[in-house]
């Protein structure tokens, strides 16, 4: 986009340099200024650059609320991206909140939508994700992509109902060879900058509006929820034609439930979801992802002062597996009926919670692959935070979720000034 976008970050930095020492001054606008850099560890022959992350970012947010009236909220990012040699402005959130009745709320516009009980694992949260940001060391908030949507929330004494309509489809930001190399199932090899994929989004017509809903309530200390979704896979899990590298987003419906609450001196959660692949309900079409059932069991507990341990066991069961096997083209990547995935989260806070040591591990015994996310964060002052971390991938086979990322191991550093 235009260089004019860079005028704003520069102005903000100047303003901060002058205004920051004035402690009691209330800024009308909040946000942060950040510089971040990340490098590939080792060499990837299909990627010309070693830098996976190199950016200066300013995030600004502004809210205005009328007494007993609507509220507007805007959050925008302005970034100079050295790794991609681009200047960009992104509207992260921009919505209007309005409550026409005491127990009814509307949120209209660009918003981050999320629900469910998983920790970096999503069963009933079929809202768009940015896995590239996640893999290269951006702040965790960038895993979530905004949706342009209308949300209605109804609050009754014992239950709440959220209904969301998303008229314009936003896909996940998935591996396309830009920055990170990945396994291309069509050419059966690891591709990077040389990838040649066409991703076709669903047409922007009223009939393609996506719908999501959640009914939630509490029983004692336990939170229960039912979920429903009708729309499209957020990742391009359909192939138009085997001869051409053109992928699309098949139709999807998801029904699920979750419970979360105290268990064994900690917090436990259980979530299930049935993904109904509407473009291939019989599971006979090898070009479209099959239906599946996903199960998640999670537990988190504080073991000692400022140390928390979390673990999850996740299983994805492909339905109509025999038909998938029977229709799998010769040389097509192997898949299991059951994909087992374990995660581990360790967090230790030190020095009055100004230092955080953390490790998140994904490990799949069935895919035989792993992903380690170690990080150290240090709050130098109330405003300034430095984070250093790494993303380490590996596996036995190049075709699995984390195995394909083997050559993308990277380390990163972020310095963030919040105001």
């Amino acid at each position: 986009m235009g260089t004019s976008h860079f005028v704003i970050p520069t102005a903000v930095l100047l303003f901060l340099a002058v205004g920051a020492p004035v402690e009691s001054f209330e800024l009308p606008v909040h946000g942060f200024v950040e510089v971040a850099g990340g490098m590939r560890l080792g060499n990837d022959p299909v990627q010309p650059k070693d830098a996976v992350l190199g950016e200066g970012r300013v995030q600004l947010q502004y809210a205005h609320e009328w007494e007993k009236g609507p509220k507007v909220f805007v959050k925008a990012d302005f970034l100079g991206d050295a790794a991609n040699e681009a200047l960009r402005a992104e509207l992260r959130e921009g919505y209007l909140d309005y409550a026409p009745m005491a127990n009814l709320e509307l949120r209209l516009g660009r918003q981050i939508l999320t629900w469910g009980t998983g920790d970096f694992l999503f069963i009933n949260d079929i809202f768009p994700k940015d896995y590239i940001s996640f893999f290269i060391g951006r702040q965790p908030q960038y895993l979530k992509l905004p949706s342009d949507a209308a949300k209605v929330s109804l609050f009754l004494p014992r239950v709440s109902l959220d209904l969301v309509a998303i008229p314009s489809f936003t896909p996940d930001n998935v591996l396309t060879g830009e920055r990170l190399s990945f396994f291309d199932g069509l050419s059966n090899r690891i591709v990077g900058k040389d990838a040649n994929l066409t991703l076709t989004k669903p047409k922007r017509i009223p009939g393609n509006t996506e719908f999501a809903g959640r009914l939630s309530g509490e029983v004692g200390s336990y939170e229960l929820a039912l979920y429903g979704f009708k729309g499209f896979f957020k990742s391009p899990l359909g192939v138009k034609d085997l001869a051409r590298p053109e992928l699309f987003y098949p139709e999807l419906a998801v029904y699920g439930a979750s419970v979360r609450g105290p268990a064994l001196e900690g917090i436990g959660n259980l979530e299930v979801g049935y993904s109904d692949s509407l473009d291939d309900r019989a599971g006979a079409n090898p070009l479209v992802e099959n239906s599946s059932v996903k199960y998640l069991l999670g537990y988190e507990r504080q073991l000692w002062t400022d140390f928390t341990l979390g673990g999850q066991y996740y299983v994805e069961q492909m339905l109509h597996f025999r038909r998938f096997e029977a229709s799998r083209p010769a040389g097509g990547a192997h898949r299991d009926e059951f994909r087992h995935l374990l995660t581990l989260r360790l967090t230790q806070l030190l020095r009055h919670q100004t230092v955080e040591l953390s490790l998140f591990v994904f490990y799949s015994p069935s895919d035989e692959d792993f992903y380690f996310r170690p990080a150290v964060s240090y709050k130098l002052t109330d405003q300034l935070t430095a984070v250093m971390g790494a993303n380490i991938f590996g596996g036995r086979r190049a075709s699995t979720a984390f195995g394909q990322l083997d050559r993308n191991d990277n380390i990163y550093l972020r310095l963030t000034y919040s105001f």
């Binding site: 105290p262 917090i267 928390t308 009055h352 709050k379």
Partner: protein, 271 residues
């Protein structure tokens, strides 16, 4: 039903005792009774409460960090279940974060944290007794209270502290392994029944943390510690907390303490 009766009896005793303070002073009932009344005076004044709290975390080297938040409390029963709601104003990286606690007298509290950048409500698996509140020298327990029944209390003596007559009471955890301290000595103001000073000793018997009520004001008829300090004698770190704009009996609705308002707190509640 039984628990409720006990609560009623205790409440009746407390109101009787507070009606005739000289009698109470003369009889000095049991140490546990004093602690029970002190617990109510410190953590249950009014039916609800709102305050803007400024915490200064000061390291041994004098380096300062600030935490500023609005705190709301509602009691469901006097001496029983409570709801807390905290909205952070500062530091900037946690601004707009909200924190909700449903506190029960006999079991672990339920805690939720809303992270606005992620639009995510997390359930917190923290242990009351061992967790520092936002990195300060105060534990969660110091902020919302520790059950009277968890310790054995003994009246050591009565003496004046800073010109105020006080009971000096020693409290020893019944379950040492599940506690962060080995012994506590508290100076309880005979008139206001709030602690003026507390010394926490570690399990080896060494002095660990010292609490002091630096400023006490009567607000709407309730004695309120408006300025307090918790000092970690062993590390030299200390936290000062100033309670501003304290108000009681605002008539906060119970529905405020819900996921709905955790995600979207009403502006008048957090100002």
């Amino acid at each position: 039903m039984k628990k409720r009766n006990v609560v009623l009896v205790v409440a009746a005793c407390v109101s009787l005792l507070s009606l005739c303070p000289p009698l109470a002073t003369a009889q000095t009932s049991s140490a546990e009774e004093i602690i029970r009344r002190s617990h109510l005076a410190e953590y249950y004044p009014g039916d609800d409460m709102k305050a803007r709290v400024l915490m200064r975390l000061v390291s041994k080297e004098g380096k300062e960090r600030l935490r500023e938040f609005t705190m709301l409390r509602k009691d469901l029963q006097e001496g029983g279940e409570q709801r807390y709601f905290i909205y952070f104003h500062r530091p900037p990286d946690v601004r707009e974060m909200t924190f909700m606690v449903w506190k029960y007298p006999q079991k672990n509290a339920d805690r939720w944290l809303f992270i606005p950048a992620l639009k995510l409500v997390r359930r917190i698996a923290a242990d009351d007794k061992r967790s520092s509140f936002v990195g300060s020298d105060f534990s969660y327990e110091d902020v919302s209270g520790r059950s009277v029944e968890e310790d054995t209390h003994r009246l050591l003596r009565e003496e004046a502290l800073g010109g105020k007559e006080a009971y000096v009471i020693e409290s020893v955890p019944k379950n040492l392994a599940g506690s962060d301290f080995g012994r506590k000595v508290a100076w309880i103001d005979k008139r206001a029944l709030i602690p003026l000073k507390e010394e926490y000793f570690d399990k080896r018997g060494d002095l660990g943390k010292v609490f002091s009520a630096d400023e006490v004001k009567e607000i709407q008829g309730f004695w309120t510690i408006t300025k307090r300090t918790m000092q970690d004698v062993q590390t030299g770190h200390r936290t000062e907390a100033i309670f501003q704009d304290v108000r009681y009996n605002l008539g906060l609705p119970e529905s405020l303490f819900s996921e709905r308002y955790l995600r979207n707190p009403p502006p008048e509640a957090i100002r």
